[in-house]
Every structure is written in C-alpha cells, then in structure tokens.
Amino acid sequence: MKKRTFQPPCSKLKFEVLSAHDINKIHEAALEVMEETGVRFPSHRALDVFEEAGCEVDRDSMIARLPADLVIRSLRQAPTRFVLAGRDPKDDLFIDDRTSHLSTDGCAVDVYDLQSGELRRSNREDIVNACKIADYLPEISYIWGPPVSAQDVPAHIRPLHEIEASMEGTTMHIQPETVINRDIAHYALEMASAVAGGKEKLRERPVFSYMQCATDPLGQDGGSLEASMVAAEWGIPTGFMPMPMSCATAPATMAGNLVVTTVDAVSPLVLMQLINPGTPVYFAAAPTALDIQTGGYTGGGPEDFLLAAAFSEICHFYQIPLAVGGFATGAKLPDWQAAVDNSFAGLMPVLTNTSIINGAGTLNGSKIFSLQALIMDAEIYNIIAKTSQGINVNDETLAVDLIKQTGPGGNYLAAKHTRRHMRDLWRPVVYDRKPYGSWEESGRRGAYEEATDLARWIIDNHEVEPLPEEVKKEFAEIIKKADRELGR
C-alpha cells in the first residue's frame, strides 16, 4: 500500500457567520457576565489564585468575579502559536490560528468489532488499533482521547494505561481527556516526561497536552481545574472545552449560547495565565443544542455547524487557537447521516480556519468508535481540505495557449499541461467510483467494505516505532506506583 501525503488545510475560501460588530457584542456580553456574575471554580487552589490577583471571590458558592481588564490582559498573555510535539519530531504540529488539524475523537465506550462487526465494550487493545490506524492515515494529526476507554484495566489507573496504549499505537502527539484530577495528572506528566527525556525537555517539546471539560453554564470542574493547574506549572498546553447545550445549559438562542461558550472557554484561560503567564492555552468548544423531543445530545445538525464556525470567528478575534468538536455524529452506523453530519461539521471549521477539529472515528454522539468510520472520516476531511484550497488563477492555470492550440472539438488528454497538473486532482481512497458492472461483480462493495479491508491491512502491516525499552520500564514503574497509591 502506497504511503500518501497530506497537507493540513489552511482554507483560502472566504466564509463568514458573524460580522465584526456581532463578535464585539458577544465579547462585551461575555466580559459583563464574567465581571458581574462571575464563574464557579470549585477548587480552593484555583480560588486562592484568583483572590491573590485581586478578584472578588465567594468561598461558599466558589464563584470568582473576573474584572474585564484582567481578562483582556490574560488573553494578551496567552500565545497565538505553539507546538504540540510528537513522540517522533516528524509528527510535531505547529498550531497557529489559520491551519486546521484533525484529531481522533475521544473516549468512546463501545466499538464495532473489526472481525465480527458486532458492538461490544471497548478495551485497551482497541486503543492501540485505533491509534495505529490514525498513525497510518495522513489526515489525522494527533490523538485526542484515548479514542476509546480501556475498560479491561482497573479504573483508578485507567488513564495511565490509556496513555501507554496510545503511545504503543502512534508516535503522534497525545491529548488525553481522561486525566481529570490532580493525582492522576502528576503520574501522567511523569510518563510524558519519561518520553520527552525530562521535565525541562517536556516544556520544550510537550508530547502531551490536556483538554478539560467545563461545567456549563458559567462553571468549571474541580478535578479538571486542578489537573490543568498542574499542567500549567509544567508548561503543558491545556484547552478547556465548554459544550453548552441550547435550551439546557445555554439559552435557546445561538447568540446566547455563544456568550456562555465564550465565558466558559475564556475564564479558565485567565486562571492558567495567572499561574504561569505565557502558558499555551487553546480554546475548545462543542456548543450544541438539546434535542427538544428526547432531551438528548444532538451530535450534529445546523446549530452545531453554525455555532462551531461562529465560535471560531470569536477565537480569531482573541487570536487564540481553537479546537472544535466535529465528526461526532449522532448516527449509530457510518451511514448517510454520519456522512452528512461529518461533512458539514468538518467543512465549517476548515472554512473558518479553526486550528483543531476533534472527532474522527466515532458514532452515536462519541459513544461508539468505528475503525471504518475513522478511515471514512479521514477521507471526508481530505475532500474538505482539497475543496478549501479554492482555485488558483494564473497564466499557467488559465492555459490559454493550450486551449487555443487544441481548438474546438479536440481533447486535452495527452497534453503535457494535463500531465503536469492532473495529480493535483482529488483522488479517493475508499470512495466508490467503480463502474456499475464491476461494483455488482465485487459483491456490491462500497466505501465501508473498502474501509474494512484497509483497517485490517493497517493493523496487520503498519509498523509504528515502538516505545524504547527504558521508557516502557519507567511507565511500568509509574503505573505500579500509581496503582499502590491510588488503589487504596
């Protein structure tokens, strides 16, 4: 199988959801809420930091009110660009606020078994396999996750096993979302430091970054906050992910949702900058709407698409990179609905130059992981990336001489110009373009069947640079220590 290359897109197409005036209104509204109502930070350590910075803090309700000037100063301190390092430097990602990188989705609990096709609970081996496939696919830039939960290892040390399994499957950057308390964060960072070659080296080349979920509206999770405070001390990039759901944890209106999203993304950034000014922080967001019939998570739909694009524009205003949730369809199978959801949810952030799109590979609102879906999502992203390049107009591409020379009724098949440029045309990996007869003869094989074969081939044939023996030993010791101390 030939190794393909892929350039993460930096969209040239112009697309706008919010006007500059709209963005300013949302910004002002968020500042007003942070200053007057405040945000709940359920961690005394975090409240200490705010108090020291002169914020008004209520210890009973655990709410800190953040003055607008402090918020704006903090936004200035956070860098616009940073590196998310791979275990192998060839996988380093240069995060700016223009180029769009796709990651896997995180922490599904069920998988479609690749051999039987049956749905079952996920395990450690599924992480290795999902990461291996992500490692092979050039469209996937890093691992958010773990892609699935390692439910066959004890819960108190599960996040550490998940990090290890991810690293067995890939040399790319890892962004664990399951490191959600102070203790586990320490062990996880010890593992990262073992890979990077020490705490100082880790600061230079963070092979890890964190993503923490907010507790919308106007609140953060205590454990996540403390884990991220550890990360800030270590200089590890952290993102905070609000997921306000219109009608439930946000106003029904999309503008109101964006105010909540902004408050819940920006307020923890202030904390990070107070702890370690200049610490890379990125915004993350998966604003969505409630399914007003069932009360469930929609995992796609027009509101999600618009909210993601709009929040991306707000983040450009702040010049802070954004990670949005995309590709997290609510469909139960990698079917028509999944393709519709993931095409829109991938296209909108790319067109708004969003830095990171999290989510390839899952179904059922991020609860089911499918290796075929991962491959097909990568192909959707490849189509989006190609589309976002737009059309180049210059003398060479206009080809006027060639058109005149070929004249009416001729063809351009054998022209050198054709051979010079034909490889720029998009070509599929799993997309079905077979003639009908061949399709019929193949047993009606489409993209899903192609993706199944490719997934099996990758697992059997793709070789990932193994973790060095000494790192493996260190991992084993760290996990043993964690097991002893956290397992009590």
Binding site: L413, R419, Y436, S438
Partner: protein, 216 residues
C-alpha cells in the same frame, strides 16, 4: 548514437509521453540502419509495457497512457511502411476497427479506448465520429479486423449499434469479427440483446474484454 542509446530514447519518449519525439526517433533509427521491428519491440513497446505496469501499480494515470500511445502511433506511422517493405510484421494482439456510430458525435470515450488498445498491443484504426453503417462495413472488408468497437453515448444513437451488427450478419462478417459495444447508456443487457460479443464500462475493462475476445 549507438543502437542501445536510441532504443532507450524511444522507451523514455513513451514513458514521458514526448509525442513530438515519436516520429523523429523512428526516422533517426531508420537512417542509423536499425531494424524497424527491433525499434518497435525493444524500444517503443518496451516503453508501453512499462507504462502499463506503472498504471497497474497506480503510479501512472490515464492521460499518461494516452500520451504513451500517441508516441507509439507517431513512431508506427514511420516504421510500419518499412516493416511492410521487408515483409515483416510486428506482434499484435489483433486488429481493431473503432468508431462512434451514425449521428453520434461523441469521441472522447471512444478515443480513450482506442488509445488504451493501441497501448496494449492492438493495431487500432479509429474511424472517428458519426460513422455510417456502410462505412463500418466497407472498412471491415478492407481491413479484416478481429474486433469492431461501436460507441454510442445517447439512447437515441444506441439503435445504430444494432444496425451495424445486423449489417455484419447480412454481409456474412459477423462470425469473423467480434463486436464490442460501449458508451454511457449501454449495458450488458443491451449488448447481449443486439448480439454484441463484448461490452465494457471503461477503457481499462475494454482492454481486458478485447484481449479475451482474441484469446489473449
């Protein structure tokens, strides 16, 4: 330039689709006293075979095959008459007569098939577009092809394919010439209904079907 150098140049010209070099290289080889058959087989066909392999591996694409076939065609225009003079013949899979049927003015698909067949070692005569049934028949008598390829892009011109097959039957040529049909609206059912011997949905399949029809 010595013989091997020239043969290599022919191969390279095919691989790189240098259409304008086909004729020149053939002439140069003849004036250097090279055997035309050797030029074809060791030079141009060697290139064509390599292009075919690269295509199969996914390293080359259709426009490159077409360009390679064009180089070969240019060279053959010079070399074939010389072969005939010395009463030699090149090794071919068979002779193909191809054209778009009467009232059908679409040629690109048919031309791609013609190029691919040339590139695969068939001797192809392309009659062009809007070819009347009578012309197919008279050319068939003249050139005694192994295969006749009939292209139709429209449902309204498809019946012309049937007319040609019927005319071949009437003229007693149907048993001697295998008929292949193609074009967007054409399918297997139509092909068997009008008693065509082969059908393909694209140029790559057409080559396979053609080879099958001549027992290669």
């Amino acid at each position: 330039m010595d013989k091997n150098e020239l043969l290599n140049k022919m191969k390279t010209a095919v691989l790189e689709g240098e259409i304008e070099d086909g004729e020149g290289l053939a002439k140069e080889a003849l004036s250097a006293g090279l055997d035309p058959l050797e030029c074809i087989e060791q030079g141009f066909v060697a290139g064509i075979n390599e292009v075919g392999d690269l295509y199969e591996q996914g390293d080359m694409f259709l426009p490159e095959l077409v360009a390679a076939a064009e180089v070969m065609k240019e060279a053959l225009n010079v070399l074939e008459p010389e072969l005939q003079k010395s009463q030699q013949s090149r090794d071919i899979h068979g002779r193909v007569l191809i054209g778009s049927v009467a009232n059908d003015i679409h040629d690109i698909g048919k031309d791609i098939v013609a190029s691919m067949l040339t590139a695969s070692g068939f001797d192809v005569t392309n009659l062009g577009i809007d070819v009347p049934t009578e012309t197919f028949i008279s050319k068939a008598r003249e050139l005694t092809p192994d295969i006749m390829g009939l292209s139709a892009l429209l449902t309204t011109t498809m019946p012309e394919q049937q007319k040609v097959v019927e005319a071949l039957e009437e003229e007693g040529l149907k048993d001697k010439i295998k008929v292949m049909v193609g074009g967007a609206p054409v399918d297997k059912q139509w092909a068997s209904k009008i008693k065509a011997d082969g059908f393909a949905e694209n140029a790559v399949e057409a080559v396979k079907v053609a080879k099958g029809l001549v027992g290669k």
